[in-house]
Symmetry: C3
Subunit: 473 residues, 3 copies
């Protein structure tokens, strides 16, 4: 709720501080918003503009001068102008010498230019100190005070002192500066606001692929087969029944895929007898997107829960239930209560609920603000112990479901295809069996030693390592 506060703050014109003003080149949207915010936080601001007299929308309290005059007054100059217009700065080289130039620009496309805007600027005015900053902040957010998206400001630059001056401004504006190093990183910084969930790409691709495959598989075995063989129109199953088969299957496979790379990494380390050699790239990639994979799997599990809970409201199910009663009456034969069937049905549901519950716990602990409150031991406890518990519960849920179906229903193989849920059990079972092997004392001890820095073929005695640093595989 702090947001609306800063918005209502009157412009600070009577500031008692004597510090040199900050100069902003460019009176566009971003320049004005930034200037306004800086004035509110007690800075004195001078705008550099081509038409100093024509800038009616500028915040009160700010001076507007020509570029040259404005630059002379300040030691920090923020360039709120497009890269395309940087050329005109060459005419000001003399006044810009020794000043801190803050490049706030963004491009329209990732890697639009061969070099980053900030590096381009540094080449253009080699005698000024260029600092890249503020490019992740939006003018609208600065204006409205609602910093919903990122408060993080990436700062990079070659000169430590200049960078520190910019970092101080960032902090004074209530934003979070993150030092990214030298100008070499400016390309990354400039690409950042143009990215669209890069870490989610791989999980979403895997998930989409699996979804389509399982969907078609179920469509064939449940709709097309019955249409071709029995001439029955079951197409309405596409709305709920088939998604409710696809979601849990894909979810379980994805959950297993979260734990598979850890198993593979252990195998690799065990085989190599050291942890000091890099994993193959695909494994690194996979391990870094485990969190996202898990969250996609959780989303699917959530959908599975909702789709399951609406079952009794469905017309199809209600019609079937009343028909079932009617047929019992007509045949004058009531089915007796079957305790073992009840046990199976109920424990199948209970396992599913508990699995989903722990799944959700995992999801909640991966919220940034929650995971930031726990230490590494707690984080590993949750992600590893609770994670495997979830995987076991969900696999058991599927196994009992399968058992029930196999025995009591006529889900025989259609066109020689096994029921879809059988597919979902392959990866989880492999992961669980391997994990079970790896936690056997002999192997576990070796892996732990390897992770603590021990090497099988060590050439010289290792210097001690930090326990804390073992990977959370």
């Amino acid at each position: 709720m702090e947001t609306n506060l800063s918005k209502m703050i009157p412009l600070a014109s009577i500031s008692s501080e004597k510090s040199k003003p900050v100069c902003i080149f460019g009176t566009g949207d971003f320049g004005r918003s930034l200037g306004c915010k800086m004035l509110q936080c007690g800075y004195s601001v001078v705008f550099g503009s081509r038409n100093p007299q024509a800038s009616s929308l500028l915040p009160k309290g700010a001076e507007v001068l020509s570029h040259r005059d404005a630059a002379q007054k300040a030691s920090i100059i923020i360039l709120a102008i497009h890269r395309d217009h940087y050329e005109f700065l060459t005419g000001l080289t003399d006044v810009l010498e020794g000043k801190v130039l803050v490049d706030v620009s963004n491009n329209l496309k990732i890697n639009q230019y061969p070099e980053s805007n900030a590096e381009f600027l540094a080449k253009l005015i080699p005698k000024a100190e260029v600092v890249k900053a503020f490019n992740t902040v939006s003018a609208w957010a600065l204006q409205s005070g609602t910093l919903d998206a990122s408060r993080q400001v990436f700062v990079c630059g070659n000169d430590h002192k200049s960078k520190q001056m910019v970092v101080d401004i960032v902090r004074a504006l209530g934003l979070t500066p993150l030092d990214q190093g030298t100008l070499l990183t400016s390309k990354e910084v400039e690409n950042y606001p143009l990215q669209l969930f890069p870490m989610w790409r791989l999980p979403v691709y895997i998930c989409t692929g699996l979804t389509i495959f399982i969907f078609i598989y179920c469509l064939i075995t449940e709709v097309i087969h019955s249409y071709v063989v029995d001439r029955e129109d079951n197409s309405f199953l596409i709305a709920i029944s088939i998604p409710n088969r696809v979601f849990p299957i894909v979810s379980l496979i994805l959950l297993a895929l979260v734990y598979l790379p850890g198993i593979i990494a252990s195998t690799v380390q065990l085989y190599r007898g050291t942890k000091y050699s890099r994993f193959p790239d695909w494994l690194d990639q996979w391990m870094l997107c485990r969190k996202q994979l898990g969250l996609v799997a959780l989303a699917y599990a959530f959908l599975h829960v909702l789709y399951t809970l609406v079952i009794p409201i469905r017309y199809y199910v209600k019609w079937w239930a009343s028909n079932y009663v009617i047929s019992q009456i007509k045949s004058n034969h009531t089915y007796p209560f079957d305790t073992s069937y009840a046990w199976r049905g109920e424990s199948y549901l209970a396992l599913g609920i508990l699995g989903f519950f722990f799944y959700l716990l995992l999801g909640i602990t991966s919220l940034p603000s929650v995971s930031n409150m726990v230490n590494w031991r707690e984080f590993r406890f949750v992600q590893s112990k609770l994670g495997y518990l979830t995987l076991i519960l969900c696999t058991a849920h599927t196994l009992i479901y399968g058992g029930e179906r196999f025995i009591y229903n006529t889900y025989f193989y259609k066109w020689y295809l096994p029921p879809a849920f059988v597919l979902s059990l392959i990866v989880p079972c492999i992961v669980l069996v391997l994990k079970f092997i790896f936690i056997m004392p002999c192997l576990d001890r070796t892996i732990t030693r390897i992770r603590q820095g021990w090497e099988r073929n060590s050439r010289y005695p290792k210097q001690s390592d930090k326990e804390n640093g073992k990977p959370a595989v």
Copy 2:
């Protein structure tokens, strides 16, 4: 979990630092808690008290002196006393000269005094530098170390250097300083801890109004009508059936109201041909509380989901279902399975589930810690693309529900009033139709250009704007 750590830290008496002590006037709750916390963080603290010898509850390691003696020892004096007692400070004017006075006071009511406490203090002791800080932090939180509510400390003051000294203390205590500018903003800062969800007020009012209206509407058409016309007592519908009609209807209207101001803003910009003129105040206000509107709508959608999922547990529904079967048997007539009806019923449920799912995703991304991790492009993608997808799904859900009801049930107009869900479709349909018009290439191109700073009636060539700064309307 870090919280309990700081609590258990022993008082640091043997601090090797030679820095000047910090003085605290007032040995009340807050003064003591702050002093204790500062001692823990390595500061040396001296209390100023009227009865230096009578203060038995003070933290160990702190000195207690008379006000005058204490003030002389320090360069920063924190005033943990009521505004009403500030007068006595005039007697200390000579020792307070040039010192930093930190005003931590709060009032009991918003705008209790014409001027803020800090400004009053600055007038009283004009030769001291007054800084407002710490008023948002509670004594209890400092004592217990459980900083559940705000870690944010708003700091304002006219002198940059004094402010920086206070900011350093705030940071050393593990709190987050937020520079709010000069003392002019102190009134806002003092009012802040007295506010009660100011951003939520408008959404809650709108929501309450709509809820009451729809509730009465449903009461009339479903309970009162049947009581007056058919002499049937359906009053028990008030518990679940009617809320389950009110919640989805209000939720859908509120969701549409989240996207309506964006549409209006586009229209205004398109009409004016520029984005450089302010929106009317009501539109600004509306746009700033869109997030809260959306969250209220999500809460209602969540209630709708729960109310819907308990349907099969309800006595009324169970009784009705068994009666339905019995009547079929008695009349010896079973209803055949209707595929088209199944399609409608199932897709209606599926759309609802998917709508709710994306709704929830929107809600999760509006959590501060999540939205802080995404960049503007990602935030806009989620809030705009996913938002409209949610609106489309929920509207389709309602439309199919409506279609089903109209055809298969006897929900004809009662007292010439259309069924309530018809009302819920008005705003969403308007929003979707307008949005559809605005994304047509010709209009979309113009709007994009306007948002990038282009003006239809520009007097002189615009200086370039930043792409990044376009509003997330």
Copy 3:
């Protein structure tokens, strides 16, 4: 998403800054990762190693020297080595004089050594300034850039200036420094990463105890009793029915236990007539873990909701329902619709849903990032007002459920044991009755005055207190 950014940043070799390099002793996992990160952020790094020429895995851009040479080059030396190897540092006493030694070590067990590693180091090299830091950060997190768990770095040390130097490094690496005071606190800091949810221990113990007790209680009254008396095998109830009795009962008791300590505290304060005397330790402990108690209760409530919603899918329930219809037909007797029963059943469900909804709201506001956005007044409003509303709704939900059961079902006392839900009502009812007494004007006024600092037997006139600082009991 910022995480992957920092990972991809190239090593900054051409840094223009002239600042003294930072030295890292130890080329193990942690030393290397930290060095790499520091290089990325523009620091120049020199490693001290026993085998300077054998360190092939070190990050590019870093120098590797002998310990002595490396230490001489820097003013800050980070010791990424085990405590067991600290002894060799005594040989370097002359070069370490006046330098800042950063102890990053952790132990394998809590309180493994009588004194903390940092204090041990300070004794070993008394002429150096020891600062404890970085022990909560994992090498893997530094390497991969995915700082999922704690970004918080606890810093403690006796010398303010040395500490500040380390704090600056921490901040430059994009981590959050938290000043914990002098080296006296280093033991706490070292124990922190070894803790496993210390605040959750008490709530989990209470919850586990209650769960086991209620589970056995229900097992006796519902399974064993019917088996012994009626020879009926109801064991399948263990899967869903009994958990669905245990979860709500324990949840309600836990929720009441969240509010009981506040009531007790009020009573104590009222009895003593002052707030300036410490509560007994058990009460303090209890009050500090209220949030965790509440969250455990919420988890159980969530499980209760899921277990309830699957009711209509259960085989047992479906079988019973169809049998019910069949028996009605066979006896040719249909039960008429009972409005008062409908009212009870529906309002019982509605109260439960609303209770759960507010419960969830409470849970969401206790997320760190959300509670950090609200001020104390808002936090207290939510936690106190909404909390009691939740308690009232949930208690009413149970009462109506009880009423319904008592009247319509044959749940008579088995073996003289009352139904389990009766047990769940004891604590909530006590809390609600006491709270009701305490909010009566006469008592409420006294409590408020006490919390504002008033004392019944005050010896001398109190100095004014801060309103803001009243505890959120």
